[in-house]
């Protein structure tokens, strides 16, 4: 890899992205895309019925959304970028080169969205007091906000869809072929009603806080928002089915391997079960809220909410299935190496082209075999150092040393307490992409496989945590330094 390797050995690099992204999707779908049209509709309804209670409730719900979306929502959005650029700079760097204008447009829409939510929230009281045309304008502002929230999602979904299946982009390399990939519409169609239903459930939960138990308005509000939620439920099912049936076709391009298919079938079955469970809980709880609103405990609404979260989470996981072993379908593997790099790296070795080395720490050197002469020890450490670089450059984007999805855990499961000799490990890694089709093939030479094996044998002895460049820094490979001098001479020569 050609960037210093940021690495989290405990939670794992992917979890850093996942945590931030899950939080963001949750807020974006539940509190922005789905909620803004609901709030605007409530305000409109209150104005139509000349009932200030609706207005009041709509404002209270909006204020909660405002507080959360402009803090956690906005920052987790930026956080996805920051975390991906740390964990897999190659993939995000490539995506930005392709999708710059999509992101740029999304950003302009995002600015509009932020200005609108500020205006919508901060002018609510003033414009409502003025009444008449001002109130109508305010309601229109709400629907404009709802529209722009949806547009930001519509743009981002194109990029997500692209990562799963770049479609014709691989041959065409144009922006629009990337955007109009085959999974775009089904995904957007699924997320839209999902967001609306999610917002409905959250709004019902908030209504229980903002209205009194015996208040007749609570019943009316729960009924109306319940109807909203139920209205979107069938669309979730229909669009979910569309998406679900589009996935295998998209997947065939990547994998046709039985094992992956089996795993995918497991995913599908589970998705169906969770979707069914979610649909039933929504139906039951919403029906209950409509028919017996005064008996509805707050906790009851948590059930469909958690079910929707579970379904969304499981739904998001499909991207991994379709995508793996790639991070950008058929263009770049999950380790950040391009498919087209493989021939070179497997011929000459990855270390030859690695600019950086990841220095071994004291803890990582613990437990070296005894009875070695100083020369043998130094030679072994040199090889372990190289093995560590192979690990960091080819494995560490998905695997930790000791934490989540750790290589130690996997090897322990495979080989137990016996010594993880290079015969065992290198032999396994050479062919692992056949037995584990979600993994990229090993990109280096056979010698590098052995070096990797020696490092892992040392990892078994040291049980050390692997630090990232963010704490121990990097060293520059001497090969690279020599080549630098040569390149400098060349550039000077060209200039003359």
């Amino acid at each position: 890899m050609d960037f210093p390797v940021f690495h989290l050995d405990g939670m794992g690099n992917r979890w850093l992205i996942a945590l931030i992204a899950i939080l963001h999707v949750l807020i974006n779908h539940g509190l922005a895309v789905g909620m803004m049209p609901l709030v605007a509709a409530m305000e409109w309804y209150g104005e139509k019925k000349k009932d200030p209670r609706w207005d009041n409730l709509a404002f209270q719900i909006l204020f909660v959304c405002f507080l959360i979306t402009t803090t956690v929502g906005a920052l987790t959005g930026v956080g996805i970028w920051l975390s991906v650029s740390l964990v897999n700079p190659y993939s995000i760097g490539s995506l930005i080169r392709v999708f710059f204008w999509a992101w740029f447009t999304e950003w302009l829409v995002f600015i509009t969205e932020v200005c609108l939510i500020l205006a919508y929230t901060l002018t609510w009281k003033k414009w409502s007091e003025r009444g008449g045309i001002w109130k109508k304008r305010h309601i229109r502002l709400g629907f404009a906000l709802a529209f722009f929230s949806w547009v930001t999602m519509a743009i981002i979904v194109a990029i997500l869809g692209f990562m799963m299946d770049p479609g014709n982009w691989l041959t065409d390399h144009s922006f629009w072929t990337g955007v109009l990939n085959p999974l775009y519409l089904p995904q957007l169609a699924f997320r839209t009603p999902l967001a609306a239903a999610m917002a409905g459930i959250i709004a019902m939960f908030l209504i229980l806080f903002f209205t009194a138990k015996r208040d007749a308005f609570r019943n009316a509000a729960l009924r109306a928002v319940g109807a909203w939620t139920l209205a979107f439920a069938p669309f979730v099912v229909v669009a979910g089915w569309w998406y679900y049936t589009s996935v295998p076709a998209a997947m065939q391009g990547n994998l046709g391997v039985a094992l992956a298919t089996m795993e995918f079938e497991d995913w599908q079955t589970k998705f169906l079960q969770i979707a069914l469970f979610t649909a039933v809980t929504i139906l039951v709880v919403v029906q209950f809220a409509i028919s017996r609103p005064h008996l509805l405990p707050k906790a009851a609404l948590l059930v469909p909410f958690v079910a929707i979260l579970w379904m969304t989470g499981h739904f998001e996981r499909v991207r991994e299935f379709i995508r793996k072993p790639y991070v950008i379908g058929q263009y770049m593997y999950a380790n950040g190496l391009r498919v087209d790099d493989y021939a070179l790296l497997q011929r000459d070795g990855i270390l030859k082209y690695a600019t950086y080395s990841n220095p071994l720490t004291g803890a990582e050197k613990v437990g070296l075999p005894e009875n070695l002469t100083e020369a043998q020890r130094s030679n072994l450490l040199h090889r372990i150092q190289k093995g560590k670089d192979v690990f960091m450059d080819t494995c560490s984007r998905c695997h930790t040393g000791q934490g989540v999805n750790s290589i130690s855990g996997i090897l322990q499961k495979m080989f137990g307490d016996q010594e993880w000799s290079t015969d065992l490990t290198a032999g396994t890694f050479e062919f692992m992409h056949y037995t584990r089709p979600f993994m990229p093939p090993f990109p280096g030479t056979k010698d590098e496989l052995v070096l990797l094996g020696e490092y892992l044998a040392q990892l078994q002895r040291s049980k050390a945590v692997i630090p990232g460049a963010q704490s121990v820094g990097i060293t520059v490979n001497p090969v690279s330094a020599a080549r630098l001098a040569e390149t400098k001479r060349q550039i000077k020569g060209d200039a003359q």
Binding site: I96, R97, G473
Partner: protein
């Protein structure tokens, strides 16, 4: 000395001609940083006036007026930062990502730190009147917000500074060692001083447009409030005449000569002198006259800020250009080799299939 690393770039073409990306970077960054100035300066001034409000009640009202503006300004600061982030990712991919990785733990902590600062800012503003009885706690909250707002820019600055100096990459071990690189603290001081100065101008704008009833609510006269704004703008700007040149002179030497950078900053200093003169004149004016030079002052500030942005970009280019040539050569060389190896492998695979 550590060898200078020359990594490869991402082998995909730029999505737009370079000048367009540079324009996006420079223009939107300046818009972003102005709102960051309002946000950080607003937090500092709020704390200051809240403390003065302990003795004289009307300062507390003034603090509230300023605090009320932070929440909108902070939202604009964040959202306007995304565009330049996108452009810097594209234009300086290797430099920016490398600096990010080397200070990774602090870099990613920007997310929770900013969230915390924003949530506290909301609590501080929206529970202002409820917290009247717990004034010490309320002020402590403002203090924490200020500390967070003062620390977060330091992370950005450290990163942006580190990115310019590939010769330092191998010697950095985490955020704190990157923090100690030359020029970080002088640039930081330059930025921090700009916060009250910009917020001072913002105060003038704010109190110029408020209606009489709102002005009366603060317990100050309009001219008094505007004068305070001008004073905030003036004195930190005066200090910039010392700090600015220090930040400029401590810039690490580059292979390329920096004449254009010096020229741009030189003009900026001259324009600033004119602006400071007008600010000073405004602080001396009476109620009938004050505010007369507001528009010219803002126009000059726009010129100064734009020159700063241009100078900053010219220096960045001077710092990385020779190294970027090396990267370009290395990437080309690598891509040539990769293509050749792929052809070789494809031919070998085709030959095997024939057999």
């Amino acid at each position: 000395m550590n060898p200078i690393p020359v990594p490869r770039d991402i082998p995909l073409p730029m999505p737009a001609p370079e000048p367009i990306l540079v324009a996006v970077l420079v223009i939107f960054f300046l818009m972003h940083i102005v709102f960051v100035n309002f946000m950080v300066g607003g937090a500092l001034l709020t704390l200051y006036y809240q403390l003065r409000g302990l003795k004289e009640r009307r300062y507390d009202h003034l603090a509230y007026e300023i605090a009320s503006t932070i929440t909108a300004n902070k939202s604009l600061a964040v959202v306007l930062g995304v565009g330049p982030l996108l452009a810097i990712n594209t234009l300086y991919t290797v430099y920016f990502y490398t600096a990010n990785a080397l200070t990774g733990a602090f870099w990613i902590s920007i997310v929770p730190l900013v969230i915390t600062a924003f949530v506290l800012t909301y609590i501080h503003k929206y529970l202002w009147h409820q917290m009247e009885r717990a004034k010490a706690f309320h002020i402590a909250l403002a203090g924490i917000i200020c500390l967070l707002f003062l620390f977060i820019p330091l992370i950005f600055l450290t990163n942006i500074n580190l990115m310019l100096f590939p010769d330092k990459w191998a010697s950095v071990q985490g955020f704190f060692s990157a923090l100690m690189l030359p020029n970080v603290f002088s640039r930081y001081a330059h930025f921090i001083l700009a916060c009250p100065a910009m917020t001072g101008l913002f105060m003038v704008w704010l109190f110029r447009r408020k209606d009489e009833a709102e002005i009366d609510g603060t317990g100050f006269g309009r001219a008094e409030l505007m004068r305070k704004g001008y004073q905030w703008a003036l004195w930190p700007t005066m200090a910039q005449f010392i700090v600015g040149p220090i930040a400029m002179l401590t810039l690490p030497k580059t292979e390329v000569a920096l004449h254009s950078v010096w020229a741009v900053f030189g003009v900026a200093i001259l324009v600033s002198l004119g602006m400071a003169h007008l600010m000073f004149a405004e602080t001396r004016r009476d109620a009938a006259e004050i505010g007369r030079s507001f528009v010219p002052i803002c126009a000059l500030m726009l010129v100064v800020v734009s020159l700063m942005g241009v100078g900053r970009h010219l220096y960045r280019e001077a710092a990385v250009t020779p190294h970027r040539e090396l990267i370009r050569a290395k990437t080309q060389d690598y891509m040539g080799k990769a293509e050749e190896a792929k052809r070789e492998a494809d031919a070998a695979a085709a030959a095997r299939r024939k057999k």
